[in-house]
Each structure stands twice: as C-alpha cells, then as structure tokens.
C-alpha cells in the first residue's frame, strides 16, 4: 500500500471512529466541512485565473490639464504618465491609466469622476485642487470607489467621515505650521528679524483654507517676529493684479507672505517689478507656484530668490531615481527637478493604489479601500516617514523643506541637513520701505 492509500484509509478510519463516537450528525458535519474546504480550495484556485485575467488595475486620473491650473495639471500628469512603467519595474504591478481633464472647474471635475467610474475606473486619483477634490470625494463616496488625493490641502476633505477618500498630502494647517516653522528657521539662519508682513492669497478653497490656518496659528507662534499688516485676497483667475500689488506695497511691509498658484504668481511678480516694490522677500508658507517649471520659464531671472516652504522630494531615493530615468525616457525635454512636488505626490497616489491592489489581489473597490487603509509604504519619492493613513484617511507627519530659487532652479536651503545652498534673505535689491 502506498502512502496515499494509507492516508486515505487513516482519514476514513478517523471518520468512522467519529461517526461512531458522535453519531450521524457529526459525520455529516465533517463531510460538509470537507466539501466546504474543498470548495474554498477550488474557488481560490479558480480565482487565480480570474486575477490573471483582470491583473490590471484601472486607475482614473483626474487633473486640471487645461484652464487656469493647466501648467500644474500637466506637470502632475508627468507623474501619472511614468507610473505604469515604474510600478511595473519596481513593484511588478500592472495598472492602466484612464485620464480625465477637470478643466480647472469643480463641476467638470465632478462629472468627469462620474464618467470615469461608469467607464470602469476601479480607483480614482487626483485632483490637485481642493475644490475639485472635494467634489470628486463626494462622487467617490456615493459610488463606493476609493479616491486617493495627490495634492489638495483643505482640511475639511478628510474631516467629513468619508470612507473611500484618502490623502497623502499635508492639510493646509500642517503646511502652514511647517511653513511658518521654516520661516523662523530662515530668519535664524540669516540673522534677520522682519517686523511686518503683508499676506496675499488666492481666493479659492485652498487659499481660504490657508488664510484660516494662518489666522488661527500665527497669533500662537510667539517665536515669529513679525505681525501681519494687511490681508489681501484676489481671484485665482485674475488677469491683472495692479490694484492688489499697489495695496500690498502701500502697507510698507518688510516682506510678502504669499499663498498663490502658478499663473497669478507670475503676474504678481511682474507687477511687483513694474511697481518697483522690493521687499525683503517673498515667502510661500506651503503653496504651489514659485517652484514650477513655468514660473522659471516665464520670469527668467525675476524668479530668483522666491522662497517656498513645501513638502519636497528625496533625490537619493530608489523610487526617485526610477522616476527620473523614466521621465528622461518618456519626456526628454522635461527635468524632474522642475516638477518634483507635482510628479512626486501624483506618482505616490498611484503607488498607493497599486500597492493596495498588489496586497489585496482584488480590484473590488471595497476590498481596495480596506487595503489602502492598511497601507504602509516605506520606499517612496517624497521626504517623510512611511505612508500610513490614520482613521480619517489622512497621512500625517509629512515634512516640508525651505526651497529658494537660484539661477532659475529650486534649491533646498533648509533644513540645514538637506541644504544644497545657503538661504539669502533679504534678497538682493531689497529697498527698505
């Protein structure tokens, strides 16, 4: 008798013995259990081909690739475009992108999200803008499809109790806290103590969130030497900022605290030159605009010395190197350095869903959402600890770096450990008001 026969007999013996000891019910239960176990084994082996058939995750990517935020949206799109190749080579995950343009419009963002889901998107990522992200989050909740935000800082997005919305980006409160902390470090590093500032901000969801954060946090930070003389809100789609800059200049503030986006940052910087306003510097406490490729292209030398305190990337990371190589391959004219934040967070949002897909081996939205909740990614492009979501779906502890423009490129000046150059403040050409 061979081994198999022996085993079968042994099993049968036990079965007979149980039946004898426990009666007919126990034997039936064992039989049903065995059939159940066989069904589970066979169903999991049946699932394998099914997994193999749908081994690509369909990722709906929503970005403002036209409209006022087109430049930044297209910059983010680079991060999405390189993701399939990088994720395949580094992590062995196949994804398929389904791209949609939100046109810098909240209503369009909502309708595009609905359309992507109806066309088969299993997860959504995007949408750079807080207003658009809020709208997409509502759709994601209604449809039960996970939505991972790449860039959007309005705190309320992850304060709604949403189950399918996740954000790997600091809230505006965190951005401002980090940004103002770095401002203090900047003043210490340069031995300066500006006494006054004028605060200008875009009047959209993101700008309002930053305004609220600054209004609540700044009075509590007794280590900062300056006070705000005026707060000036302006339309993010403004075509002319003459009045706004004239008002800001008239305050005679030592420096400009600026929460901007890209197009308005360019217009504003030009207007400052026209109006011969040369404050100690321009400091962005956690906003886009002044480190974007188009800012350098449009302004040339005028872009120099602007300061942005923003989350930044780790140039030494394996993921960064892979993304850089893939970008050079796919977009030879572009340099990662000029798109780092946009590419980094957009890539990471797709990395998160790809990682969840890999772990869960499912493209069922609910299973994916649960897997995203369990995310723990250490190998990443952006500086900071591992990507882990809290109960609200928010990644905490994303640090910022102080970036200053030199020779039309962004350079880390603080924290000192990561610095590529020394900070310059006041900037050259400063004229005391």
């Amino acid at each position: 008798m061979n081994t198999i026969e022996k085993t079968s007999l042994a099993t049968l013996d036990v079965g007979v013995s149980d039946a004898t000891e426990g009666g007919a019910d126990a034997g039936r239960r064992r039989f049903v259990g065995a059939v159940g176990a066989a069904a589970i084994v066979s169903s999991s082996s049946l699932m394998r081909p099914a997994w193999a058939q749908s081994a690509k995750l369909k990722v709906g990517v929503l970005l403002p690739r036209s409209g006022v935020q087109a430049f930044v949206g297209q910059s983010c799109q680079f991060g999405a475009d390189v993701a399939p190749a990088v994720l395949k080579s580094l992590f062995g995950v196949d994804i398929e992108l389904m791209n949609a343009d939100t046109e810098t419009n909240v209503d369009t963002a909502r309708s595009r999200a609905e359309r992507l889901i109806s066309e088969g998107a299993q997860v959504l990522v995007g949408a750079f803008d807080s207003g658009a992200s809020l709208a997409i989050a509502q759709v994601a909740e209604q449809k039960g499809v996970p939505f991972v935000i790449n860039i959007a800082a309005a705190p309320q997005i992850t304060e709604q109790g949403y189950k399918f919305t996740f954000r790997n980006f600091p809230t505006s409160v965190d951005l401002v806290v980090n940004g103002l902390g770095l401002a203090r470090d900047l003043f210490l590093a340069t031995g300066t103590a500006p006494r006054t500032a004028v605060f200008m901000h875009v009047n959209d969801t993101f700008g309002q969130a930053n305004k609220a954060a600054i209004a609540s946090i700044l009075p509590k930070l007794d280590y900062l030497p300056f006070k705000l003389l005026d707060t000036i809100a302006y339309d993010p789609a403004a075509k002319d900022l003459t009045v706004e800059v004239a008002r800001a200049k008239a305050t005679k503030a030592d420096f400009l605290l600026l929460v901007c986006r890209l197009n308005d940052a360019i217009i504003l910087r030009r207007e400052m030159v026209k109006q011969r306003w040369n404050p100690m510097g321009i400091i962005g406490p956690g906003n886009p605009g002044m480190y974007e490729a188009q800012f350098y292209a449009a302004l040339g030398k005028l872009s120099d010395h602007c300061i942005s305190n923003v989350p930044w990337y780790d140039p030494k990371s394996v993921v960064t190197k892979a993304i850089d190589a893939q970008m050079r391959k796919q977009f030879p004219k572009e340099k990662l350095m000029y798109h780092a934040l946009n590419v980094g967070f957009t890539f990471e949002s797709i990395q998160i869903v790809a990682d969840a897909f890999k772990r869960s081996r499912s493209n069922d939205p609910k299973v994916l959402a649960e897997a995203i909740r369990q995310t723990n990614i250490a190998s990443r492009m952006m500086l900071g600890g591992p990507i882990k979501f809290n109960a609200k779906g928010q990644v905490e502890g994303i640090a910022s770096a102080c970036i200053q423009n030199f020779n039309q490129r962004p350079m880390v000046v603080l924290p000192a450990a990561s610095a590529e150059a020394k900070p310059v403040f006041p900037v050259p050409g400063y004229v005391r008001a």
Binding site: R65, S66, G67, A70, F71, N203, I232, A233, Y234, D235, A238, K239, D240, L241, T242, V243, E244, A246, R247, K249, A250, N263, I266, I267, R270, V273, K274, Q275, R276, Q294, A298, L302
Partner: protein, 289 residues
C-alpha cells in the same frame, strides 16, 4: 489711504479702461449699424491676441507694429464673416442671430485650443516691466502706450465715420435703413464693411491687450461679457459711450479693488450695470429708443 496709492490705482484704471473702450467700440459699431449683437466679440479679441503673440515670437514684431497686419487680416475676416454667414441672419429673429454667433464663438475657442493649447502665452517686450515716475506716482509704461494707441485707434474710427463718404453712408444706413436703400446705397456691402471695421477695432484692442494680460483660449467669454457691460453702461450703439463705459469700468474695478476688496472687482462692474439699467436704460450716452 495715501494719495500715492489712490493716484496709482486710478491711473491704472483709466489706462486699462481706454483699451477696454476700444474693444467695446467694435461691438458698439457693429450693433449700431448692423443691429446684430456680436456674441463672438471676446473670442475675436482673443484670436487677435494670439496673432500678436505669434508675430512677436516668430518674427519679433512688436505688438504696436503688429496692429497693422492684424487689423488688416481681421477687417477682411470680419467682412467675409458678415457676407458669408451673418448676412442671411439679419432679418431672422434675434434668438437665431444669438445662436449663430454663440456657435461662432464656441468654434473659435476650440479652434484656438487646438492650435495653441490651453496654456497662457504672452509677449516679452523690452518695456514690459518699465514704469515712469510722475512725482509720487508710477505709471506702467506698457499700459500707457497701450492706452495711447487705443485713443489713436478710436480717433481714427471716429474720423472715418465723421469725415469720409463711406463713413457717412454707413451712418445713413444706421439712421434710416429704408432711406439708404432708396438713395441706392449698397447696404450689404456697407454692413459687411461695418462688421469688418468692428473686427478691426477689436483686433487692434487685442494687440494692445496682449501687453497687459496673458492670453489663453478661454479668455474670450469673459471679455465678451465685459464688452457688453461697457456698451450697455456707455450706451449701445454710441461710440463715445463705449469709450466712456470702458473708462468707467476700468476705474470702478480699480476702485473696488482698492476700497472694498480685490475679489469684488467684477461685482462692482455688474452693480454699476444694474444701476445704469435702472436709472438710464439707454446707457449714459445712448439715445432713447
């Protein structure tokens, strides 16, 4: 609030307003004679701005020099547009005219998107960042030149209508359509000529405007709306009214930004429109119907 601040802002408002006025002048001229409201007006200006950008970036032609070829081309395009497409609609109901010109506007926006993409473009002339000091006041050089050119263009349009036979014939058409026909004027030709002139005005304004703002294909609808506000405030069909309306809108926007909040600029323009419509429905310099 200092005199310097108020002075700077008001000067900027007046100078911008003159360029707005030239833009609206085209709309007013077309409506005043052809009685068709050009809902593609802002889009035409956007197209002219792109033309100025292309001429500057390709051959280094300054926008002030680009006015000549751009105006000629837009005059011809306006003439042809009226003869080929708009003329059959002149006797049709207003909603048909509205739909036609909205369709033209949408086609223009999308054609510009296809041709130039969604990104903002501008011209980088040497004097773009210059400003003049007038005592405590600072005057933006590009804005001053643009306003001066807008005044010259407006004066040329006024002179044409006042002193030339063709201009007088067009005015005759506007005053008495039947009478003009009776005396043997070629109405279709004169209408097309007027539409061409209106297009030329808006093209000239576009060449000036590109010095003040970056251009994107989506800019058109906002300027169409602004042109409407200006001509309704100034008086639909009134050429001096268009210039006055432009200055008023420019100054009111600047004032709103200064005295209220910059976000309220458009709000004040529309509030002004409502006030004018309530108190003087024909506009400040318009004639009572």
């Amino acid at each position: 609030m200092s005199f310097e601040l108020i002075g700077n802002v008001l000067i900027a408002g007046v100078l911008s307003g003159l360029v707005y006025g030239l833009m609206a002048l085209g709309l007013s001229v077309i409506f005043g004679v052809v009685r068709v409201v050009n809902f593609a007006h802002g889009e035409m200006m956007t197209a002219a701005m792109f033309a100025a950008v292309v001429l500057f970036n390709t051959w280094g032609i300054d926008p002030f020099m680009a006015v000549i070829p751009v105006v000629v081309v837009f005059f011809a395009l306006g003439y042809l547009l009226q003869r080929a497409i708009i003329n059959p609609f002149i006797t049709r109901p207003e909603h048909s005219q509205f739909m036609l010109l909205v369709a033209v506007a949408i086609i223009m926006v999308n054609a510009l998107l296809i041709a130039f993409g969604p990104n903002a473009r501008n011209v980088q002339v040497d004097y773009q960042l210059e400003s003049f000091e007038l005592g405590p006041l600072l005057v933006d050089a590009a804005r001053l030149y643009a306003a001066g050119a807008a005044l010259v263009c407006s004066a040329a349009v006024f002179s044409f209508f006042r002193f030339t036979m063709t201009g007088k014939a067009i005015r005759a058409c506007a005053d008495n359509h039947m009478g003009a026909k009776v005396v043997g004027l070629d109405i279709r030709h004169l209408y097309a000529l007027t539409f061409g002139l209106g297009s030329a005005c808006v093209a000239a304004a576009g060449c000036m405007m590109v010095l003040l703002v970056d251009v994107t294909p989506q800019l058109g609808p906002a300027y169409t709306l602004m042109a409407f506000v200006i001509v309704i405030v100034g008086g639909l069909g009134s050429m001096p009214g268009a210039l006055l309306g432009g200055i008023l809108i420019g100054v009111s926007e600047a004032g709103a930004g200064l005295f209220i909040t910059p976000s309220a600029k458009s709000m004040v323009s529309f509030a002004l429109l409502v006030v004018v419509l309530l108190l003087r429905p024909q506009g400040l310099l318009g004639k009572r119907p």
